[in-house]
């Protein structure tokens, strides 16, 4: 029962937000309440999964593999928890960052639609259902992206919508081919049947895997499918960018991790490909950031480079040593959670700077160290966490990935990761010196004048802008100073992920269903 709550709560919140129409105050209250409720449900779910192991819900009472199954293992529950946390942080931040018009026209409703899709994608145990949740998430994100109707948003919207739909169509084609091979869609069931099919029809399985990789690659924005991200993420208000940065690409990474560790049979070819993709994604992302001159855009391009580290963890699954594989996935999971906290926090801080200074252009910013020392300290600590310096969550996340890389003897990839970490630091310091350190340039003309938030008094507005950042930073530093709980969680999640048999048994797929073979007689007339 608990398992469906992270999907139902945001969905009901979205419905209620739409129902109350233009009453902004009610919508704001509903938005924050819904996010709080989701967080409570996510914490309860995580605690239960931690205590009792993998939870399974057969929706509508149809047992696996016939119906749709919701499955929560530690990995899924952890990501739902992180998503719920980010949702609450961004919902509170939005109260101050978003203008009344956006709030009136359904911002909170569609934010919750997006969260429904994200939580559904994390919790589903069915490949086609994953597609459906992706679409729910996309519809929410489409509306959030263009809400406000500025020209830049429309342009960004067209690019983002086209690429997203292309990705969906590829995903759908992949699902079709996989159904043709295995005649099932339940992930646990597929795990068994595709393992058999990999020997009888290796070409088809590889083709389907590549279709899925392409589809998830577009969503996760890995090289060479990353180009849409910097062009679309800067158009909406910072709060929207922050929730996008926290959830959208990470859902793509989640799908890659899930599908490559559970559904698809291990293949050296695919893991080799992933390693190349990971290295280039890190490198291209960080180099792309050099060319940017706008606060939020630099951060957006860094999202891409950070995705590379997570994909690197998945690529190391190709290692022959079981312990290395476990370490690699644990590091990737740690990295995903760390990145959700830190990256979105940086975007939120860039929004706060925009609210204070009225511009996002590095050349026109400056002197904020004196004007807003709290923001400066928050930014510096978050930026160092992103670059992977102790004491922060980023240090342990990077350490794990690099350790796994050395153990797998993937030296080139590991040195790329180290080098990119250095470049990230340089890039963060560039922002630091331009925004906070250097003296303020002559009068800050604000030609991209800011719409004031819906009548919130300045002191309260500042508090609403800063509280989410402080909480997220405290969490990040807390994980950095005392990593054992988070490390233990990541390790356990990775152990569960790599134990396919246990997952399959937990979902309730029995061995005899495999013996009938993946191919049925009547397929080809």
């Amino acid at each position: 029962m608990l398992l469906a709550l992270p999907i139902v709560i945001p969905l009901v919140t979205a419905g209620l937000c739409l129902l109350v129409g233009r009453r902004v105050r009610v919508q704001r209250a509903l938005g924050v309440l819904g996010a709080g409720g989701l967080l409570v449900a996510a914490v309860t779910l995580f605690a239960r999964v931690w205590r009792e192991g993998v939870l399974v819900l057969y929706v509508g009472g149809w047992r696996a593999p016939f119906g749709i199954t919701l499955v929560a293992d530690v990995f899924a529950a952890l990501l739902v928890l992180a998503a719920a946390l980010m949702h609450l942080a961004v919902s509170v931040y939005s109260l101050a960052d978003l203008d009344g018009r956006r709030q009136r026209y359904g911002y909170f409703a569609f934010l919750n639609v997006m969260l429904t899709g994200v939580c559904g994608a994390f919790l589903t145990g069915d490949l086609f259902n994953l597609y459906v949740w992706f679409e729910v998430m996309l519809i929410g994100s489409f509306v959030l992206l263009v809400l406000g109707g500025q020209r830049a948003q429309m342009e960004a919207g067209i690019k983002y919508v086209t690429l997203s739909l292309l990705s969906s169509a590829l995903f759908l084609a992949g699902v079709g081919v996989i159904y043709g091979i295995a005649h099932t869609l339940n992930m646990a069931h597929l795990s068994q049947r595709l393992a058999v099919a990999a020997t009888s029809h290796p070409g088809l399985v590889t083709a389907a895997s590549l279709l899925l990789l392409l589809a998830f690659g577009i969503k996760a924005a890995v090289f060479p499918l990353h180009f849409w991200l910097p062009d679309s993420y800067h158009a909406p208000p910072p709060a929207v960018t922050a929730i996008f940065a926290a959830l959208l690409t990470k859902t793509g990474v989640y799908a890659i991790v899930r599908v490559f560790s559970l559904v698809l049979p291990p293949s050296d070819y695919l893991f080799g490909l992933l390693a190349v993709i990971a290295g280039l994604t890190m490198l291209i992302g960080v180099l792309g950031a050099v060319a940017q001159s706008q606060f939020r855009r630099i951060l957006n391009v860094h999202i891409i480079s950070q995705i590379g580290y997570m994909v690197m963890g998945v690529a190391l699954l190709g290692s022959p040593d079981a312990q290395t594989r476990q370490l690699a996935i644990a590091a990737a999971i740690f990295y995903i959670v760390h990145n959700m906290l830190v990256k979105s926090n940086l975007v939120l801080l860039s929004g706060t700077v925009r609210a204070l200074a009225g511009t996002e252009q590095l050349s026109r910013l400056g002197g904020l160290l004196n004007r807003a020392p709290v923001v400066a300290v928050l930014f510096l600590l978050s930026a160092l966490s992103l670059a992977g310096l102790p004491p922060s969550s980023g240090f342990w996340a990077k350490l794990g990935v690099i350790q796994a890389g050395f153990r797998a003897q993937a030296y080139l990839l590991t040195f790329t990761a180290l080098f990119v970490g250095l470049l990230t630091l340089v890039s963060m310091l560039k922002i630091w010196s331009a925004v906070f350190w250097k003296p303020a340039p002559e009068p800050c003309s604000s030609d991209d004048a800011l719409p004031a938030a819906a009548g919130t008094p300045p002191a309260r507005r500042r508090a609403l802008l800063l509280v989410p950042s402080v909480v997220l930073l405290v969490l990040s530093i807390g994980i950095g100073l005392y990593p054992p709980p988070m490390l233990a969680t990541a390790r356990r999640a990775s152990r569960e992920l790599l134990d396919r048999a246990a997952y399959v048994a937990a979902v309730g797929i029995h061995a005899e269903q495999v013996e009938e073979g993946p191919f049925r007689a009547e397929v080809h007339p």
């Binding site: 830049a152 429309m154 169509a169 759908l172 159904y179 007339p525």
Partner: protein, 115 residues
């Protein structure tokens, strides 16, 4: 039959990508439409083509008569159609609004936000 469907799927994909690469946003929309159709037809043919009865359980019986077709691909396609209907409706509005906001439907001129 398989060959014809394979060619048809291929033709749909080719047309879809051709339209996606065109410069006007309206063609982009039609490209996305065809892309959805191509994927649906691919699911339909990949799942296996059979001459069989529909999988409807007669009243009083427990299971459909023997020799029925697999209903899952049809369910998948129906779901995919529903979803692409919703998403394309949104995309249509978006294309129209972008045209209003910028006065052009040329994708080359809709690139002011790129760097």
């Amino acid at each position: 039959m398989f060959v014809i469907l394979a060619l048809l799927v291929g033709a749909l994909y080719a047309a879809a990508f051709c339209l996606l690469l065109a410069r006007t946003t309206t063609r982009l929309l039609f490209g996305l439409l065809l892309l959805g159709h191509a994927a649906n037809l691919l699911i339909f043919s990949a799942a296996g083509l059979v001459r069989a009865s529909p999988a409807i359980v007669p009243s009083g019986a427990e299971r459909p008569p023997p020799g029925h077709a697999d209903p899952i691909p049809q369910a998948l396609i129906l779901t995919a159609i529903v979803i692409s209907f919703a998403v394309l409706a949104f995309a249509a509005v978006l294309v129209q609004r972008a045209h209003q906001a910028s006065g052009t439907n040329d994708t080359e001129e809709l690139r002011t936000t790129e760097t």
